[in-house]
Amino acid sequence: MMAAGDVLGSWAFYAGWAFMIAGCGFFATAALGLLRFPDLYSRLHAVTKTDTLGLGLLTLGLALLDPSWRSCLMLLLIWLLVMASGAVNCQLLARYNLEQEEEDNHRVS
Amino acid sequence: MNTLPLVTAIELYLTLGIAVFLLSLHGLMTLHDPIRRLIAVNLMGAGTFLVMVSLARRSEVPDPVLHALVVTGLVVAISATAFALRLIIAATKADRRGGKPEP
């Protein structure tokens, strides 16, 4: 961790921790949103923030703490995957819900 | 800093495994829906695996023999689940076609 000189090392250390704590803060807000938001679409909005920003900040912090290229590559891959999957899932769930609602309306009328 | 506090965490997980086993045993005995019963059997398996793996964790380096046994257990569990599900479907279809429905 301190390989690149003391100043840079401690800088990366503190920045990494700051990013990680910020990321965890986003996780907490997502939990809050999940609990408090009234309907599915706004909840989807809250959760997608966790997938992109929360996990992004967390992986950035972890990458600063452990800057070997292998772990950075892995973290980047996981982050990209989770971000893409979060975006796609959000779309899929919203469309699925719309479909169901439409069908229910159809059945009622 | 990097190791589990050995005794306590392992005892916790051991107890958890037993609790899950007993809970799902009760579920198996009282539930009626076949899919739920199947889930209960699977949960019993998971409880057993928890006990085995926490036993394997007692020594500093976990015991590979027990881990390998649990991997085998996972294979058997999913095969049995797939087969049981098909049996349930076949039984339901037979009921619907001609046989009397279950009381």
Partner: protein, 322 residues
Amino acid sequence: MSPELLPDLTLILLLLIMAWGALYAPQRSDAMTLFIAFGVVVALIWARLDAPDLALAEAAIGAGLTGVLLMHAARALPDELHRRNRTATYWGALAFAVVATLMFLAHLLTDDSLLNAGLLDGETDMTPRLRSLADATMGDSGVEHPVTAVLLNFRAWDTLLELLVLLFALSGLRQLFPRESAPDDHATSRWPESLALMAAWARVLAPLLVVTGGYLLWRGSSAPGGAFQAGSLLAAAAVMLRLTGLLPPLRWSSVWLRLAVVAGALFFLTVAAITGIWGEGWLTYPAAYSGLLIISIEIFATLSIAITLSLLVIGEWEDLRS
């Protein structure tokens, strides 16, 4: 109590809620979703208990394939066969589990014989001795990772039987389909047209799954991973492609499919026979070829496991009987 235990306690709480919900959730689809979540939490617990092989297998099987399997079967069933869960059973279950667990704990804490027998101390009873035996002979086994070595070498019989269990399950499954297709079977096996986004995403995801599976297989000899984990990732890819309509039915009539299903067991048996007849004994690998043999067995086993698992999970009449 040390703060070290905090994540463990949270995980335990999560798992208990999941188990409870998977058993007693009011709707069946709730119960199945919670069962999938149970798999995710169990994978995290394996990570806490230092069992990476299990965490990988559980993440692929418990959190993935089992859920798809249950949902797939639930489609073919009427909504819920019986609705007789009264509140009384909940309290009964709670009381039963709590009392029995407390009794076990009391036994554990008061009865010194268990502690004296070394149940919780480790290194004094039989299994650690087995482990040290495995460690001591591992240099001869041809691979470096202990779990793979155990699975493929010292307990080769076990892996063979594992492949055979999958084969038996598949052949049992085939018997449950009628020889002739009933008209309503076709209706259940057809999936709705997939959304364009879904198909595009599946096209991105499938190669990633295959590459990761290959990676797990390749590193299985020196680190956690191996045939079963790799095979289940490949099966997940096949299941996803099949569901989104990107893969045609697998067709049991194809010779290649049948060959792929039996390839793992067949190759393993051939090796066993060859070592039994010309070598030093059944499944005692000659030292020079040990590594090579194990890797090729793993490759064939992965192929068989992937195909068999995907047939088990989403096999329909047209996959298995035509």
